[in-house]
Symmetry: C2
Subunit: 350 residues, 2 copies
DNA sequence: TTGTACGCGTTATCAA
DNA sequence: TTGATAACGCGTACAA
């Protein structure tokens, strides 16, 4: 069975290929009688238009390129799902490529995407220079999620990470915590820097001086959290709470504390960031900042579709939300009915 | 800047388009001098072949369709990454579509994939009938991961789930557990059925009769695990260990036990299946069965590439491996130095 | 080894 | 409203 072409359909319907094309692509008006004939012929033959030929002729591939950083990322996964759902029914398909947070790798990913003549590009985080994105945007509409691109501010979907970082610290400060350890994300990661900035702002407002011994840096993956706890204890740090720049590292911190017999939240409170799928099911459920990642992915897709239709959509604003679960509790000294006692020291068991 | 065509390159290089084509697609031999001229012209102009036109002319889209069930699945995510890496450098790109474990949804996903004239199809799980996959395979090479397709056995990559289920039970039985609760996956899910079968086989071998009161069914997501614990306790079940058909539900079980003050592994041992990224960082780290999901994805991609090159690759065998971590311990009665005591009853605190 | 010319399946243009 | 015909950019017989 050789693949069917428009010509076959046209022949059966008794019309010209152009008419058949018009009917099947809904481009122009066709007399109902012929219209029906074409539809019936297509149906009966099981005709399926060839997207490639269509792309060549029309100049539109009907593909949306999605530059993600890691196809298996628990964080961006929800965003990808949002993009997928946002594209649903539009005739466009998403095509993904991973940049792994490396500029060259991202470049080659973009390369492979544009090589397929995608009609638009959705960028999920990454380190590709703003200038490069602006340049791409001159001939290909670009929408970015999770990053701020100078010159493309109205094409960026993000949350206020400074605010998120601030909220985490504030929550703990209000619970009476004063010695708060902070496990930051990579220094070259904008979100990580913003969260740390918000954290420090809160400390300042509460008149607490920033203790370098309480701040560490990790790579956003689980083992970094484990290591952070070890480093903290090794340097004899005293703390009643730990804020971690993302949930994945918070999982590591949780395990590190567990290994040392430090209870959460009884001995130490723990706060994460992202609200990954598993964070509601850790023991105890993790207090964290939820990002509307799915919604952002969906909004990105819809915005791009609107742009492709000639509109200039106003991108909605997204708010991060602190979810207070069970990994945070009032600081010991702040708890009524309990004698104030010195905070936990390394090696000490509860 | 109008997009460059082969014609532009050919003009600059002083050769015909066909020669330029031959050089850039490596199809035939070209005199070194001309070859270099073409390469230089392409380089200098920044020429990028148009994949769409190429696809139309050659009949190959250089796209590999990947039917996944959920683009954000923590389980298949690693497989997708494997596919991506396996395709790397081959000139083929993966294009994903999600079926959400619903036959009609999978059908439309396959539809959108074939509509883009993918050159091959990788199927990740799902409920699409075997017959349909066989039919597709007649005109499009198909490789399946995580399922057994009748008639396409040599195109399937999977692990022995019966064996995996057996190993879990055996591990606990050897630790002295006799009353083992089992939270199964969806009945219509082949992997789930296999794991349960392996479980029951082990029980039989140990001469333990299957207690229906100890078996529950979930949907493979976290909340189901939580519910399972509640149901178990509500019906007054007595058990010293729980085996859960996948890690996601095991997380739910873990939380359910935590909520009831039941310690893991002190009071109850817990075993999962899949070894998700987070499972090494739960508290305690989860004993589970690791599936080489990344490797399977990679192997699937490589196998498909081989088939496209006319080979008939022998698919490697994959083994699941029980990872004994800290969520399992000898049954109380089996522990030396501890008096045997009745197993935990609902409502009882440790 | 190289160039000419045609075809891939569809949409777009232009007359009719 | 319709049909013939020319693109779309590239691969590839075929001839030279």
């Amino acid at each position: 069975m050789p693949p069917l072409t428009l010509e076959d359909v046209a022949k059966v319907a008794g019309v010209s290929v152009s008419t058949a094309s018009r009917v099947l692509s809904g481009t122009a008006n066709v007399r109902p009688a012929k219209r029906d004939a074409v539809m019936r012929a297509a149906e009966q033959l099981g005709y399926r238009p060839n997207a490639i030929a269509r792309g060549l002729a029309s100049g539109r591939s009907m593909l949306i390129g999605v530059l993600t950083q890691d196809i298996a990322s628990p964080f961006y996964g929800e965003t990808l799902r949002g993009v997928e759902d946002g594209l649903e029914g539009s005739g466009y398909s998403g095509i993904f490529a991973s940049g792994h947070w490396r500029v060259e790798s991202e470049a080659s990913a973009i390369h492979s995407l544009t090589g397929r003549s995608v009609d638009g590009l959705i960028v999920l985080g990454g380190h590709t220079p703003d200038a490069r994105l602006r340049e791409i945007n001159t001939h290909l509409p670009v929408v970015a999620v999770g990053r701020q691109v100078k010159g493309l501010e109205d094409r960026c979907l993000r949350i206020d990470n400074v605010r998120g970082g601030y909220d985490c610290a504030r929550h703990l400060l209000e619970l009476g915590h004063r010695r708060i350890a902070y496990v930051a994300g990579p220094r070259d990661h904008r979100d990580a820097r913003d969260r740390l900035e918000g954290h420090r702002r809160a400390l300042r407002e509460w008149g607490i001086e920033d203790d370098p011994a309480l701040t560490l840096e990790g790579d956003f993956h689980e083992p970094a959290g484990l290591l952070a706890v070890e480093a903290l204890l090794a340097r004899g740090a005293v703390f009643s709470a730990v804020i971690v720049a993302n949930d994945q590292m918070a999982y590591g911190v949780r395990l590190g504390l567990y290994r040392r017999g430090i209870r959460v939240p009884d001995d130490v409170s723990l706060v994460g960031f992202d609200d990954l799928a598993g964070s509601a099911f850790t023991t105890p459920p993790l207090t964290t900042v939820r990002q509307p990642t799915y919604e952002m992915g969906m909004a990105a897709a819809e915005a791009l579709l609107a742009i492709l239709n000639g509109a200039s959509p106003a991108l909605p604003l997204f708010e991060a939300q602190l979810l207070i679960r069970e990994s945070t509790a009032p600081a010991r000294s702040a708890r009524p009915g309990l004698p104030a006692r010195p905070e936990l020291r390394p090696g000490e068991r509860s």
